[in-house]
């Protein structure tokens, strides 16, 4: 087990470093940011001088090497615009992102697992058909549209919820629903199909032949078997929720990492983008790492090996 953990930890480091490398080069492809920070009438010499000051005039591999050496030490440089340290700035936005992602995740699990289990158990019933239809819809609706619709009804028309910003539970409701909609749909469909699969297994028939009542059979036996694949999906999605809530954060002006990343990208504020990518990649990798450990808890076959 210890071997397994160490191996996976090394993978986490490799993944994060690779992600940083890829983004570092991709972002350079978008061009030189210096012009953006100087007034339009700046002379060629001034631009050159500014480039030199920021270090953009050196060969790219030297810039990369320097960036990596600093990044490993936690130094991502300063915002080109506000001159704030990049990493602390990103970290200061993390709590908001976490709050939104975790609440959306909890909401979706609370809805999706019972819904999926019930759908599978009552397969092809009216309930099942409605739930399948809703989940298809949930996956198909883009979050910027759903966000705007929710704002239109609950903020603009009914005027009962704020349209954006953060600060209280009330502010959380609409972005949480928007972000959860897709996950609810995904988790429900997945729980349903996994559960259907498990309910057909020989060992469920064995338990039934032992006289186990249906509720216990579904709720205790089959659910635990289904949890293994569900945990994987949840882990993957939590990574997406944390790192990829960009659109929802922008629509609701939610002060999280996603919105910061978006703004920094627009401004070509490279240090912040890279610090943001670092945090998101790290979270993503760590969550997957935790999911692997959790498997081992649920699935004894992994635990023993």
């Amino acid at each position: 087990m210890l071997d397994f953990i160490i191996k996976r930890l090394i993978q986490v480091v490799v993944v994060v470093l690779l992600a940083l490398t890829v983004v570092f080069f991709l972002i350079r492809l978008s061009g030189d940011p210096t012009a953006l920070f100087l007034p339009p009438d700046a002379s060629r010499e001034q631009i050159e001088e500014y480039r030199e000051m920021l270090g953009f005039d050196r060969p790219i591999y030297i810039q990369y090497g320097e960036f990596m050496v600093n990044a490993v030490q936690g130094d991502f440089g300063q915002s080109l615009r506000s001159k704030e340290d990049a990493l602390p700035l990103v970290l200061s936005r993390l709590p908001a992102t976490f709050q939104l992602a975790i609440s959306a995740l909890i909401l979706s699990l609370l809805i999706a697992i019972p819904l999926g289990v019930l759908s599978a158990y009552k397969r092809n019933s009216v309930f099942d058909r409605i739930s399948v239809a809703l989940t298809v819809l949930g996956q198909a609706v883009p979050s910027f549209w759903l966000g705007l619709i929710l704002i239109y009804f609950f903020a603009a028309q009914l005027n009962i919820l704020p349209s954006g910003g953060a600060g209280s539970i009330v502010h959380l409701i609409l972005p949480m629903i928007t972000l959860a909609a897709y996950s609810v749909a995904r988790f429900t469909r997945f729980t349903r199909s996994t559960m259907l699969d498990v309910l057909r297994k020989d060992y469920i028939r064995t338990a039934k032949a032992s006289g186990v009542p249906t509720i216990r059979l579904v709720g205790r036996y089959a659910l635990k078997n289904s949890l293994i694949p569900i945990i994987t999906l949840v882990a993957l999605d939590l990574g997406t929720l944390l790192g990829g809530a960009v659109i929802t954060e922008v629509v609701f002006a939610w002060p999280g990492v996603g919105r910061l990343l978006m703004q920094s990208l627009m401004n070509r504020d490279f240090p912040i983008v890279l610090a943001g990518v670092f945090i998101v990649a790290l979270i993503y990798a760590v969550i997957n790492f935790i999911a692997d450990i959790l498997y081992a808890y649920v699935n004894p076959q992994i635990r023993v090996k």
Partner: protein, 337 residues
């Protein structure tokens, strides 16, 4: 002799959404107290469906018992509610399945799974449950029962898992145990051990056993009486020696001829020509008519009834006393033996 189970004219219908098919048509058999009844037949003949219907484990939405009775101690199981059935399952009737590798839940310990029948049917304390399980695990010949109870299925071999399955079926000391191909998935040496174990347990616990198999050598070894099924019908029923000595139905004869014999090593094995008709293809007449070497006019038009000779029953026009006369005059009578 006291009959513990009687299946009378059982007819089961499956609906796959488009059409109705009847994989079991008019199945008729009984199990005496303390006896081992073998149900033989090739894949798809309805052996497993019959046994699942006795356990009430047929899929509720897609299957239906159209007619007939399943009397267990004179109680008709085909009319029980799910709740009533649950009290019987694993308690008075239990079942061992074919696949020991997949029949145990991989995420629960052996002890946890074995505690279910006791939990559902007997009022026992946790420590008493554990004690009982260990005792039964020892009874089925598992070494280190005290450790195995806390292990997971993947830590056990196929033979050990089948022993665990047997102990699961034994826990509540059922009156009837159904073993559906209990040794098919196991290798030959383990097979012999498991069969021996079933025999001993049956004797010790004074229960009845239905052994479902397609392996005639297992039948010869284990059973008192045999029911031969073909395409959803019982075509022959006899005591085991009688069946092997004097099979009456051409299908049974074909099955017995298909057994390899020791002294003819290089000869080609006998096989019955043709294929089992699908339930949807079954027409008028005898179900075996399209493969029968002795087929004649009546076989194609009229379904043969069950002809009884002592305890030997077979569903073949050749056993019709009138036909026998005709045949004797026509050709030789070797056809029948």
């Amino acid at each position: 002799m006291e009959k513990i189970l009687q299946v009378k004219d059982l007819r089961i219908q499956f609906n796959n959404g488009k059409e109705n098919i009847q994989p079991i048509r008019g199945v008729y058999f009984h199990v005496n107290k303390g006896e081992t009844l073998g149900i033989v037949g090739e894949s798809g003949c309805g052996k497993s469906v019959t046994s699942l219907s006795v356990m009430g484990l047929l899929p509720q939405k897609t299957s239906e018992i159209v007619s007939g009775e399943i009397l267990f101690n004179d109680r008709d199981l085909s009319r029980l509610t799910e709740r009533e059935f649950r009290k019987l399952r694993g308690n008075e009737i239990s079942m061992i399945f074919q696949e020991p590798m997949t029949s145990l839940n991989p995420v629960f310990t052996i002890g946890k799974q074995l505690s279910e029948p006791l939990r559902q049917h007997k009022k026992m304390s946790k420590s008493k449950i554990r004690e009982t399980i260990i005792a039964v695990l020892k009874q089925v010949g598992l070494p280190r029962a005290e450790q195995i109870i806390d292990e997971y299925p993947h830590q056990l071999s196929g033979g050990m898992r089948q022993r665990v399955m047997i102990s699961l079926a034994l826990l509540c000391q059922p009156k009837l145990m159904i073993a559906d191909e209990p040794t098919t998935a196991l290798d030959v040496t383990i097979q012999a051990q498991i069969l021996e174990l079933l025999k001993n347990i049956k004797r010790k616990n004074d229960m009845s056993l239905i052994l479902i198999t397609h392996d005639l050598s297992v039948v010869a070894e284990m059973c008192d009486r045999v029911v031969v099924m073909y395409a959803g019908e019982v075509v022959e029923e006899a005591e085991v020696n009688e069946l092997f000595d004097q099979p009456l139905h051409p299908y049974t004869q074909g099955l017995i001829q298909s057994l390899p014999s020791n002294n003819k090593r290089k000869s080609k094995l006998f096989s019955i020509q043709g294929q089992v008709p699908k339930p949807s293809e079954i027409k008028e007449g005898c179900v075996f008519a399209n493969r029968c070497p002795f087929v004649f006019g009546k076989c194609l038009t009229e379904t043969p009834p069950s002809f009884q000779k002592g305890k030997h029953i077979s569903k073949c026009w050749l056993q019709d006393p009138e036909e026998m006369e005709v045949k004797r005059i026509g050709e030789s009578s070797t056809v029948i033996s």
